[in-house]
């Protein structure tokens, strides 16, 4: 009956066996078709690092600066990871920055003013995030106010709440050892190595088990060489990063030794793994993509669209809470500007630069981490070059616009080539 290419019957025989060349070609044709994914972020990262490395070889390339990048970018990256969920539905959360500020203020009040232990404060902060997210989500999904307006109102209101919580302009210091450690201390070098090894072994196990399972069932797989390349790539990147982070970076070793992986790195890594698992391997994650791709189709498939819409705001605000905790830890205090000024736009920028679409339906949690790295490198490198804050804002704004243009253009290209 069919006019198009006809191959043998049966599930396994539909496509020829995979080869590395074929894999590379199909990837390239996807890119040409407008599905660029994280490619711009990775290329941007390489270009930026090269430029700064040439301009400021001694300071930018130092081990100390490399560790700084992680602690500088951590809060924005964590907020961006939550924003990815909201962006996947084609919604926006403009209040995420100040939501993180509110949660940080709650943390500081509970631990410093009220004197509770650190874990109570952390729970209170995250619970505040959940509460904020639930309210935003209900307003968007149940009442039907556009998320742009709801979260813009939240942006203003939360700014006020931060002011109220920190008593009009004073700041509350955070002195708890555990909380301060999150963004200021490092893992023992041996622990860094063990975690990296664990990550590589775990990743390899997951990849190889999936490969074996699919081969056993006669399904199409990526070529084993590509699988091996991925595992090897992760091992090399993690190994190099841990090696550099484990170098001594103290100016004076006699006074204090400073080496090891910053504690925020495993925090981000664990959250990255958890959220990636949720998005890629659970039906909840599948439903998020479905609602983002075609809400009506999702509804007809029996997916509770409203519940999904509320839940992404809860995830976003909770991740903002964690970002706020890290920010409070890094500054050792909470002031009226925590989570303010450029934090939100950097976070949205990070998600979009990493390849998450503003139109919904496309994006990964990893995008936020890659984009967060780009933002952190710009901030850090321009600081080292001695540019003023004004120039940094302008450059970051331009990069965000560039990323959004890549998103819009690739979408148009995809529509033209019929791959979207």
């Amino acid at each position: 009956m069919t006019a198009t290419a006809v191959r043998k019957d049966g599930p396994a025989a539909v496509t020829p066996p995979p080869t590395i060349g074929g894999h590379a070609r199909s990837y390239w044709s996807r890119v040409r078709g407008g599905d660029v994914g994280a490619l711009p972020a990775v290329l941007g990262l390489i270009v930026l690092c090269t430029v700064f490395a040439i301009m400021r070889p001694s300071s930018f390339l130092s081990a100390g600066n490399f560790a700084n990048l992680f602690t500088q970018g951590a809060a924005v990256t964590l907020i961006a990871m939550g924003l990815v969920f909201v962006l996947l539905l084609g919604e926006i959360d403009l209040s995420a920055g100040f939501a993180s500020g509110v949660c940080a203020a709650v943390l500081a009040n509970v631990v410093t003013v009220l004197g509770y232990p650190w874990w109570v404060a952390v729970l209170a902060a995250v619970a505040t995030g959940v509460l904020i997210g639930t309210s935003l989500g209900l307003l968007v999904a149940k009442i039907g106010i556009p998320s742009f307006v709801v979260t813009l109102a939240g942006f203003l209101a939360f700014q006020g709440i931060v002011l109220l919580l920190v008593k009009e302009g004073t700041n509350i210091s955070v002195r708890d050892d555990v909380l301060v450690a999150i963004a200021n201390r490092n893992l023992a070098p041996i622990l860094g190595w063990s975690l990296a090894a664990l990550a590589v072994v775990g990743y390899a196990a997951v990849q190889l088990l999936r490969y074996r399972n699919r081969v056993a069932r006669g399904l199409i797989t990526d070529p084993i060489a590509v699988v091996a390349l991925r595992i090897g790539g992760l091992a090399v990147i993690l190994g190099a990063a841990v090696y550099v982070l484990n170098l001594e970076r103290s100016r004076n070793v006699l006074i204090v030794s400073l080496k090891g992986v910053p504690i925020v790195v495993p925090v981000i890594a664990v959250l990255l793994i958890i959220w990636t698992f949720v998005l890629q391997r659970t039906s909840y994650g599948r439903h998020i993509y479905a609602v983002g791709g075609n809400r009506e189709a999702a509804r007809r498939a029996g997916i509770e669209v409203d519940r999904i819409r509320i839940s992404v705001f809860v995830i976003c605000s909770s991740m903002a809470a964690i970002g706020g905790i890290v920010a409070a830890s890094r500054a050792n205090s909470v002031d009226p500007n925590t989570g303010g000024s450029n934090v939100l736009l950097y976070a949205v920028g990070a998600a979009v630069i990493g390849g998450t679409s503003l139109f919904g339906g496309k994006g990964r949690v990893l995008d936020a981490v890659l984009g967060g790295a780009v933002v952190a490198v710009i901030e850090n490198g321009m600081g080292l070059m001695g540019y003023s804050a004004g120039i940094k804002y302008v450059v970051t704004g331009v990069v965000l616009l560039l990323a959004a243009s890549v998103d819009a253009l690739s979408r148009r290209r995809a529509a033209a080539t019929g791959t979207r």
Partner: protein, 272 residues
């Protein structure tokens, strides 16, 4: 005629506020047959389908499924009975691949993890069972498929669930000639596999090409339900546009005659 109809509707009424959209509608659908539901725009075809699939509640009337009275109050009830609807606007998610779309909302899991290999195998088996060979990879995004391929996926999705009744809302409306032929052949194959198929179409060629029975709606009334072999092209067009054709359909002067009883008569009587 086969013994028990799979689905039988009797005296279905449906109003939206003051507008009565369906009036005393009766319909029988038999397994292994394609029943074409025809009618002009606004005749109530889509409303009838939405009543069957549980999207709209009915005001009056009864549903018999396999001879048993049933209540369809929600899309879930319809799905539980094995009724699947393939909508005109497809209801596929462009950003998901074929397997993901086919299992959307009913994913297979092992524990909390999606069981991708099993879903991929089942999808492949379903497509092979319908002799669908036009898609190269089950993992390609639906956005990269042609209109005919999308329609094929949408239909295969409906078949995947051991459905007994598949309702197709204008499956060929947006398709070219070759693709239309493909989809019609698929529709025929569904019926040959023993499913009951309801096909909504404006295209008389399609209707006569695949249907076993034709049910004609005119202004919310079922004016005739007859075998395709017993009726001509022109008669169907007359039924659609005027509500009657010769001895079929509404009485000659619907304004003077009580038009409620007449269509019900002709529905049960019809031509044999």
């Amino acid at each position: 005629m086969s013994a028990t109809p799979l689905l039988e509707l009797r005296g279905i009424d449906k109003s939206f506020g003051p507008v009565q959209v369906l009036r005393d509608v009766a319909l029988t659908v038999h397994p292994g047959e394609v029943t074409a539901l025809v009618g002009d725009n606004g005749a109530g075809k889509s409303t009838l389908v939405k009543c069957i699939s549980g999207i709209h509640p009915t005001d009056a009337g009864e549903f018999l499924f396999n001879g048993e009275p049933v209540h369809i109050g929600s899309p879930r009830d319809a799905a539980a009975l094995g009724i699947e609807v393939v909508y005109q606007d497809l209801a596929l998610c462009d950003n998901l691949d074929i397997v993901q779309n086919m299992f959307l909302g009913r994913e297979r899991r092992s524990g909390i993890v999606l069981d991708e290999p099993t879903m991929e195998q089942l999808a492949a088996e379903t497509l092979a069972g319908l002799s669908i060979r036009t898609v190269t990879s089950l993992r390609q995004h639906v956005s990269s498929l042609s209109g005919g391929q999308r329609q094929t996926v949408a239909i295969a999705k409906a078949v995947l669930w051991n459905s007994k009744l598949v309702i197709l809302d204008e499956p060929t409306a947006a398709l070219g000639v070759a693709q239309t032929a493909q989809v019609l052949e698929l529709v025929r194959r569904l019926a040959d596999n023993g499913l009951a198929v309801v096909l909504i179409s404006h295209n008389m060629n399609d209707v006569f090409a695949v249907s076993d029975r034709i049910a004609a709606l005119y202004l919310g009334q079922m004016v005739a339900q007859v075998k395709t072999t017993d009726i001509t092209h022109a008669q169907v067009v007359e039924l659609i546009t005027a509500g009657r054709s010769g001895g079929l359909g509404l009485a000659t002067d619907p304004s003077s005659n009580g038009d409620g009883a007449q269509p019900a008569d002709s529905t049960s009587g019809g031509l044999r």
